[in-house]
């Protein structure tokens, strides 16, 4: 079955009637009857539909010229992009949450995707059956359907223009990201440039988060946000004697067995004996399957034989020494394996307050049975967030930004987020966190969420972890050196 040009134009007239009389008119009625007011993205999507209908009218008037087809396809593709881009703002919200009025349980930005995909499909189907694309020169008579489509188009677009005048204003004003309900009372009209505040252009917008780099942190305690800190002198230096393939990136000590857990910057995980000179087990995690493990930055003992490591993107892995581990099951987990370690879990920490923030530390609170991470600041989020995750299901149980005790004074214009925590350990309800920036040890009371003490630790170079050993703290550096400092009294 082939479509003649006249038949094609008649069908297109009805397509225009359906598009204009359906979603475009319906959107205006939503505004008039229910006060619905489109945001700036909705306006672009609605106008895109109007433009596709206008191209249809061009074909009705002049025949199917190639440039009309080109514009229609471009509009369809752009519309699909717009609706996907727009929907992405909302589709990941919690159940029942969306933006503006749903139609048949579906919000308008999702309907826009359906409409644009349908428009492209209709174009494709019509092209399948069209006989040729060599229209004669000059305009044609549009016929009854064409005249009706054109008249309806003018009326509906004029109604849209009226609504646009009220809700977005005449040029140079334009639509808003968070509009108010439609009103015909001029005193409620919002004509603004709020979408240009702030006026930034970026490929990824707020998701442009650089990876944290502790090596550029200023190690001088005198430059820190807390002035006049007491000095916690290094009482001795130890060293990880066992050979490690890569720089140390995480460090923990098991208070029961005295063993150490070390991660390296190349996804290596090593369980060391109590002298740090012998490797008991060593594996290299496969960072690519199926959870994306960025460089490992923290380690913790979770009690028993369970070992936890975390990467800076808050992905985690749980490991356990197991002399009966089966290669067939474990090959997929490790790039390198000593034959006696099992991966018992792999996942991602989900945070809210620390969203879009990387971490550089991991600790375990045995009393609360919670894992603890501390966020590091970035150009978009200047916060220090302590996140806690239940050991049972690894889901967030609380997050907070620590308060500062009254006897600790922040310098003017400074905050705790100026610190860059690269190692953490919990002991007696306190979170000891070492900051690569300003070589400072922080003690945060986990019960009242307050920074209770801070000490300058001069001489540290690239600290990557903290461990508690009786009355002492061990601060590991990336080069394998261990600074021994007295544990500050509560």
């Amino acid at each position: 079955m082939a479509l003649s040009e006249d038949r094609l134009r008649a069908i297109l007239a009805w397509v225009v009637i359906a598009l204009i009389g359906g979603p475009v008119l319906g959107a205006v009625l939503l505004g008039v009857l229910h006060g619905d007011s489109p945001c700036i993205l909705c306006w672009a999507e609605r106008i895109g539909m109007v433009l596709i209908a206008l191209v249809g009218l061009f074909v009705v008037r002049y025949g199917p010229r190639p440039r009309y087809l080109g514009v229609a396809l471009l509009l369809g593709v752009w519309g699909v992009y717009m609706s996907l881009r727009h929907s992405a703002l909302h589709v990941a919200r919690d159940v029942g949450q969306g933006f503006s009025a749903p139609i048949l349980g579906v919000h308008t930005y999702i309907w826009a995707l359906v409409i644009y995909v349908t428009a492209l499909a209709v174009i494709g189907v019509l092209l399948l059956f069209v006989r040729d694309l060599r229209p004669a020169e000059g305009p044609r008579e549009t016929g009854r359907a064409g005249r009706f489509a054109t008249g309806l188009f003018v009326v509906v677009v004029a109604a849209n223009a009226l609504q646009a005048f009220a809700s977005t204003g005449p040029p140079p004003w334009f639509g808003q990201g968070d509009p108010v309900r439609l009103s015909w009372n001029p005193k409620h009209w919002v004509w603004s440039f709020e979408e240009l505040d702030p006026p930034y252009v970026s490929l990824r917008g707020s998701w442009t988060i650089p990876r944290p780099d502790p090596s550029v942190a200023d190690p001088d305690p005198a430059h820190g946000p807390l002035a006049g800190l007491p000095v916690l002198g290094v009482s001795g230096w130890e060293r990880i004697g066992a050979p490690l393939a890569g720089a140390v990136s995480g460090f923990a000590r098991d208070s029961v067995t005295g063993r150490y857990l070390v991660t390296t910057d190349r996804w290596g995980v090593a369980l060391l004996d109590s002298s740090m000179s012998r490797v008991l087990h060593r594996v290299v995690l496969d960072p690519g399957f199926s959870v994306d493990l960025s460089p490992l930055v923290g380690a913790a003992f979770l009690g028993g034989d369970t070992l936890a490591v975390v990467s800076d993107n808050k992905s985690w892995a749980l490991l356990r020494p197991d002399p009966r581990a089966a290669e067939r099951a474990e090959w997929r987990h490790f790039l390198s394996w000593d034959g006696q370690v099992t991966e018992v879990g792999l996942g991602r920490f989900q945070t809210v307050r620390a969203h879009q923030m990387y971490v550089r530390s991991l600790a375990f609170d045995p009393a609360a049975q919670e894992l603890v991470t501390v966020s590091v600041p970035n150009p978009r989020h200047h916060q220090l967030v302590v996140s806690r995750f239940a050991r049972g299901d690894m889901v967030a149980s609380s997050e907070f930004e620590p308060r500062t005790a009254a006897d600790l004074k922040l310098a003017a214009g400074r905050s705790l987020a100026d610190y860059f925590v690269t190692g953490a350990a919990v002991d007696g309800g306190r979170l000891y966190a070492v900051s690569a920036a300003y070589s400072t040890l922080l003690a945060i009371d986990l019960r009242d969420r307050t920074l209770r003490g801070a000490w300058a630790v001069p001489g540290l170079a690239h600290p990557v972890g903290v461990a508690v050993w009786g009355a002492q703290l061990l601060i590991a550096q990336s080069d394998g050196g261990i600074a021994v400092v007295p544990k500050p009294a509560p």
Partner: protein, 55 residues
């Protein structure tokens, strides 16, 4: 700017209806309206071409 874009579209539709011999002008208005619409969306998305998701 949405108001202006819709006025441009109305102008193009009027040309189709009442002055069909002005096809070139009508098509130029169609292209201008497309650009205005795309710019409006670009402003509304703050120039962030990729949505707030991991790539």
């Amino acid at each position: 700017m949405e108001f202006l874009t819709l006025l441009v579209i109305l102008w193009a539709a009027w040309l189709l209806w009442r002055r069909p011999e002005r096809e070139r002008l009508a098509f130029l208005l169609l292209v201008i309206a497309c650009l205005l619409m795309a710019i409006g969306f670009f402003i509304g998305s703050h120039g962030s071409l990729v949505p707030g998701v991991n790539l």
